[in-house]
């Protein structure tokens, strides 16, 4: 009866529907089966550790030593070995902190926001992007924690009762950062882990079947008894959606608060109302840049072209283009309002950025963040993965320079010429930052080797064979039903 009513409701206009032929790109190419997808992704973990992995891991460990050594030196001697001096008291640590936090943005964006927006293409890239988020937050956290000087007092960042009755300045966005970043890190880990549970169970079962009881036990421990029942899936989907809903405002709040670190001040070039959305757009931009940097080599090494298709690369390039253009809009609007506002200090700051002692950094920033993504307008560029990868490196470079420009140009040339100065990073500064790429790489390589690189269950759900409507068409179905009746 209900079906009959449904049929009678079909208006005549539907009989005229005859769509033009512009097929959608497949999210999994070559009609790969569920088994193929499982074997492909689990194979990365199950196969013998490849030689390239050991080489990369060794190099990454070596590079990470720079951070470990740099931090040890700082702790042993004091933050005076870093190059920040008045007037640039924040120096490199805040530049590096904002840089890594920005990279940490895209993972949750891909996972949470694209999930809420029902963008199915996210399924091939979300897992590695989430991992990237967590590792980037780890790298970001190093700088403010050790910048406190006596790191053993870092717990003072939290409002815990103490014998000196010292309380934090709750009106400072730096204190808000503590809560925002720690909450964000916690939710990101939860989101990453919950999403991984069905895949961990697959690995548990496969290792059990192959007789590797130790690994089966370990994966089983983290799979938390997942059996894939309907109830499990129902609870899982609900938990995942709730976490996506929680993570979405969090991901926006983190970089908004990071922008407040600067925008709440009166420093020329910092106090500007567009900072919050501009920082968020910049973070997404840099995050996608890093996702491309990481995924394209992995795609080539593990021959994942059927899972990370050209369509995925196209989408990521287009988001990079869109966010890069938004960042360009913000740069232009800052410049315009600095002139329109007719405040001589603001005006000077922006002229100084473009033509002052740090002009080289400014133009690197403009070239990398505004001009580089414009290449993604061209399909031929997006189809050239090597070129896309090179451009993604420029995006990463440009976004580091953006933070450097914002911080250095404003602080080195503020209101009083008598307080002007320069920022000269020390070797310790440079090595500590350089080493964080090693820390990040070590963690990411471990992830690639021991955890499912892609969300198998989610990828399977976007294949044609998983679509309950596959092969059906509302129009033909209705016509057939009408004929039957």
């Amino acid at each position: 009866m209900a079906h009959a009513e449904h049929v009678t409701a079909a208006p005549a206009i539907l009989q005229e529907v005859k769509p033009a032929d512009v097929p959608r790109a497949e999210l999994v190419e070559h009609n790969r089966s569920f088994t193929w997808i499982t074997d492909k992704i689990c194979g990365i973990i199950e196969d013998k550790t490849p030689a390239w992995w050991w080489v990369c891991f060794s190099v990454a460990c070596l590079v990470a030593c720079f951070t470990v050594g740099g931090i040890a030196y700082v702790v042993a001697t004091g933050v005076g070995v870093w190059g920040h001096r008045s007037p640039v008291n924040w120096g490199w640590p805040i530049v590096n902190f904002v840089f890594w936090i920005g990279i940490g943005h895209a993972g949750t964006l891909i996972s949470a926001i694209l999930c809420i927006l029902r963008q199915k293409w996210r399924t091939s890239i979300n897992r590695s992007a989430e991992a990237m988020t967590i590792f980037a937050v780890v790298c970001a956290g190093i700088f403010p924690v050790f910048h406190v000087g006596r790191v053993w007092y870092a717990w003072y960042l939290f409002p815990l009762p103490n014998s000196n009755v010292i309380w934090q300045n709750f009106r400072s966005p730096l204190e808000w950062d503590v809560f925002a970043v720690s909450t964000y890190g916690t939710v990101s880990v939860l989101f990453w882990y919950v999403g991984m549970i069905p895949d961990l169970a697959v690995l548990r079962d496969r290792f059990y079947a192959s007789g590797n009881r130790i690994r089966s036990f370990l994966y089983g421990l983290f799979a938390m008894g997942w059996r894939g029942s309907s109830r499990h899936w129902s609870n899982y989907e609900m938990a995942y959606m709730i976490l996506a809903g929680v993570a979405t405002p969090l991901v926006l709040s983190v970089h908004t608060i990071v922008s407040f670190d600067f925008a709440v001040s009166l420093i020329p070039g910092w106090h500007t109302t567009i900072f919050p959305p501009y920082f968020v757009a910049g973070a997404i931009f840099s995050g996608f840049g890093m996702v491309l940097t990481l995924l394209l080599p992995l795609r080539a090494i593990y021959k994942l072209e059927d899972l990370v298709t050209q369509y995925h690369i196209d989408c990521m390039c287009k988001i990079t283009l869109a966010t890069g253009t938004m960042v360009g809009y913000a740069y232009a609007m800052e410049f315009f309002i600095a002139w329109y506002g007719a405040n001589p200090y603001e005006g000077f700051t922006f002229i100084n950025r473009a033509f002052g002692p740090y002009a080289w950094a400014y133009w690197i920033m403009i070239s990398c963040n505004v001009i580089t993504p414009q290449f993604f307008w061209f399909k031929s560029v997006r189809n050239n993965t090597t070129f896309v990868w090179v451009l993604s490196l420029f995006v990463n470079l440009g976004m580091w320079f953006e933070r450097f420009v914002i911080i250095c140009t404003s602080l080195t040339r503020d209101f009083l010429p008598s307080s002007w100065g320069v920022l000269s990073p020390t070797v310790v500064d440079i090595f500590t930052f350089f080493g964080t790429f090693g820390v990040f790489s070590v963690l990411f390589l471990l992830f690639v080797r021991f955890l499912p690189l892609m969300a198998m269950a989610e990828i399977k759900a976007v294949t044609p064979q998983a679509d309950p409507h596959a092969g059906h068409n509302i129009l033909t179905d209705r016509a057939a039903a009408a004929g039957k009746h």
């Binding site: 409701a9 208006p11 539907l14 009989q15 512009v22 506002g341």
Partner: protein, 423 residues
């Protein structure tokens, strides 16, 4: 009953229904315009012109909202919104009429400079001197001058009309020949159009609204206007959808998920608007720089320090009305998917967007002692007549365009995906 299936009811109700509604809308529009002219004689040219600016800006924001929705639809190759897109395209027909309706403001700028925008009159008194002797104006004179204003305004409308023409032409042509080239053409137009629209709406907001108090500046202002445009376009889209559903046009064409999607988008932009507006307010409040805070101060207190009506407009209408109320209501799935309820929420949002426009424009109207004119004054009446006047013409243009094409883009490559859209 089932036999009706083979001979499904006509999709489009008689064109005469639309024609009748169109003539009613036009009549309302002419009446609104006539009453605003009465306002010119009752309250003076400045009040009438400012009210007219509110009306034109408000409806232009709606049309820009439709334009942005169509552009974004094509850029992201969306599917769910195909069945709704045609109505947005009809809404784009209003741009040429909005340009015409903006003309009185442009003429007044030339005939009587300073009537609306004080910087156009160099003898306009300001802070004990005049605009001509104001050092801040001198620095901005390269941007804030009548020639630039005229040229830019013509450019804004020209770009919106051109984009609308291209988007509509390609979409309507596809109904006839079903060629894929129209889809690709619209994607290209939209990719460039998004940038053109972003820049034009930003500078329209700067010239038309922000420069009313030309000492003030905020980098966020264009984003604020963008958020209102999107909210307006989405809310008006919801009202049109529910209207067509109740009329019978959309029966069997769209399902609950379509209205859920557009309502969710409206919810998202409610949050975005709040984010943008809060960020602007917070950063200015926190920095407490007089060059910036004065804009908010005149919306809170009079010269003698007593609170004025705008303070309560800010708290009640802007904070609660514009954000808290729609945010709380649209958290509910049932509210978002029940046509009658979501229509009421959409009407509410449209009303508070109008108040937001008033909040940004009308305090530039000063009393003899320099305080802003209160919100509840006869000006509000002329604002309403202006909104009806401009709105009547816009609705008429939509209804005139409506019967000229198919109800939905029947040859769009994503039309089947849209018709079968599910969560």
């Amino acid at each position: 009953m089932t036999s009706h299936a083979a001979t499904a009811p006509a999709a489009l109700p008689a064109e005469t229904t639309t024609a009748s509604a169109a003539s009613k809308a036009l009549t309302a529009g002419i009446a609104g315009i006539a009453l605003t002219i009465v306002g010119y004689f009752v309250s003076g040219a400045q009040v009438a012109a400012m009210s007219w600016l509110v009306g034109v800006t408000y409806w232009t924001a709606m049309a820009i909202g439709f334009l942005l929705l169509v552009l974004i639809h094509h850029v992201v190759d969306a599917s769910w919104s195909v069945v709704i897109r045609r109505q947005w395209e009809h809404g784009l027909a209003s741009f040429k009429w909005l340009a015409l309706l903006f003309l009185p403001l442009l003429i007044s700028a030339w005939v009587k400079p300073g009537l609306v925008w004080p910087w156009m009159d160099l003898s306009h008194p300001i802070h004990g001197g005049t605009v001509g002797t104001d050092v801040l104006y001198a620095k901005k004179a390269g941007f804030l001058n009548l020639n630039m204003f005229t040229g830019m305004t013509v450019g804004f409308f020209g770009s919106w009309i051109l984009l609308s023409y291209l988007l509509r032409k390609a979409s309507f042509s596809q109904d006839n020949d079903g060629a894929a080239k129209w889809t690709f053409m619209n994607r290209r137009t939209s990719a460039v159009g998004v940038i053109v629209a972003a820049l034009s709406l930003t500078f329209a907001a700067v010239y038309w609204v922000k420069s009313l108090e030309y000492h003030w500046f905020s980098t966020m202002y264009g984003v604020w206007f963008f958020a209102n445009c999107m909210r307006g376009g989405l809310s008006l889209g919801i009202i049109i959808m529910v209207w067509l559903l109740h009329r019978g046009d959309y029966k069997g064409v769209y399902n609950t998920n379509h209205i859920h999607c557009i309502s969710t988008l409206a919810f998202a932009f409610t949050v975005f608007w709040a984010y943008v507006t809060f960020s602007q307010y917070f950063l200015i409040w926190n920095a407490n720089v007089p060059e910036e805070t004065f804009w908010y101060n005149i919306r809170e207190i009079n010269a003698d320090g007593s609170p004025n009506q705008w303070k309560y407009v800010g708290i009640i209408a802007i904070l609660f009305g514009h954000f808290v109320v729609p945010f709380c209501l649209m958290l509910s799935y049932r509210f978002k998917t029940t046509p009658v309820i979501i229509r009421r929420i959409a009407v509410w949002i449209l009303a508070v967007i109008l108040i937001d426009m008033c909040y940004n424009i009308l305090p530039a109207l000063k009393l003899p002692n320099g305080d802003p004119q209160p919100f509840f004054s006869i000006t509000l009446l002329w604002v309403l007549t202006s909104v009806v006047g401009v709105g009547g013409v816009c609705v008429w243009s939509y209804l005139k365009s409506f019967p000229t094409t198919k109800l939905i883009p029947i040859r769009d490559p994503r039309i089947v995906e849209s018709l079968t859209h599910h969560e």
